[in-house]
Symmetry: C2
């Protein structure tokens, strides 16, 4: 293995991998937290489980780990500003939440009204790899919207997921 | 936590989360393997690391774990058939590979010619969660194409990532 991959090369390459845009929330005894995440995927449906990666240097790490629960809210094109706020444009948590409408879930977490999907999760495990925690969540509740155009992150731009016929690959 | 999430509900909800389409390959002393994966994301850039989820019931599991390396090839719209073959439409590994053009990487893995990006990885860890292994890979080499339209999986359809201006969310 003689190749050396720089951080910049890795980031440039990852920018060419499309990803969904989500806001991950938590609410519980440790307080309320929330951040924008594009590194999220399904793990297994036995039991329904997903994962999301979170920077361990974030001041919110303790909140997420102590609450032991989080909600992954998959954004639509209407939520681009919200994505920016939760990505750090709004430092204050109250200001971040003020940019959206929220629904209290039975778990205590808040789900984003109008999200394409909300996956409310129990934190099953946090696995630290380098600078990030892989938060593995067992899904305890789902809110699903049948319509809406998902927001997509690609080439460092926000895009709409195409739903028009010409975009479907035959 | 009184909500119960069924496998079907979870799958229906995950279908509404857009994802890149990749073919994950391996080649080494345990032989050659390859499968289509949409559950893949970045983990950290210190060191450059990604993950991909693989069904542990796959007959190929041993090959990937023994080779201790894999290459994630991010597909373009031209690779839709290839995605189908590696998703199981071609049972035979030779038939799967015959559907694409490959480049030998220094690691021994084969990278897909024409992929948007190829991330050649050393298997750092395999973490079993339910039915799936989370394969955590440290990236040892990258092949990056500057053009090409990425393939996207959404609502159980293959789509092109939109690059036209009208799709960019202002």
């Amino acid at each position: 293995m003689t190749d050396i991959v720089s951080k910049a090369d890795f980031r440039d390459a990852m920018a060419r991998v499309c990803s969904p845009v989500t806001v991950v929330t938590t609410n519980g005894s440790a307080g309320r937290g929330g951040f924008t995440a594009t590194a999220m995927c399904s793990v297994t449906d036995e039991p329904p489980t997903l994962l999301v990666c979170m920077n361990s240097r974030s001041a919110q790490t303790g909140i997420f780990l102590e609450n032991e629960r989080f909600c992954v809210n998959v954004l639509t094109g209407e939520h681009k500003d919200l994505a920016g706020f939760f990505a750090g444009r709004a430092a204050d948590m109250a200001a971040r939440y003020a940019a959206g409408e929220w629904i209290d879930m039975p778990s205590g977490n808040q789900a984003l009204s109008g999200a394409i999907v909300c996956f409310d999760c129990r934190l099953a495990e946090a696995r630290l790899v380098g600078t990030h925690n892989i938060l593995i969540g067992e899904v305890v509740a789902i809110r699903l919207r049948k319509d809406g155009r998902a927001l997509l992150y690609f080439d460092r731009n926000y895009l709409h997921v195409p739903t028009q016929a010409p975009s479907i690959v035959k």
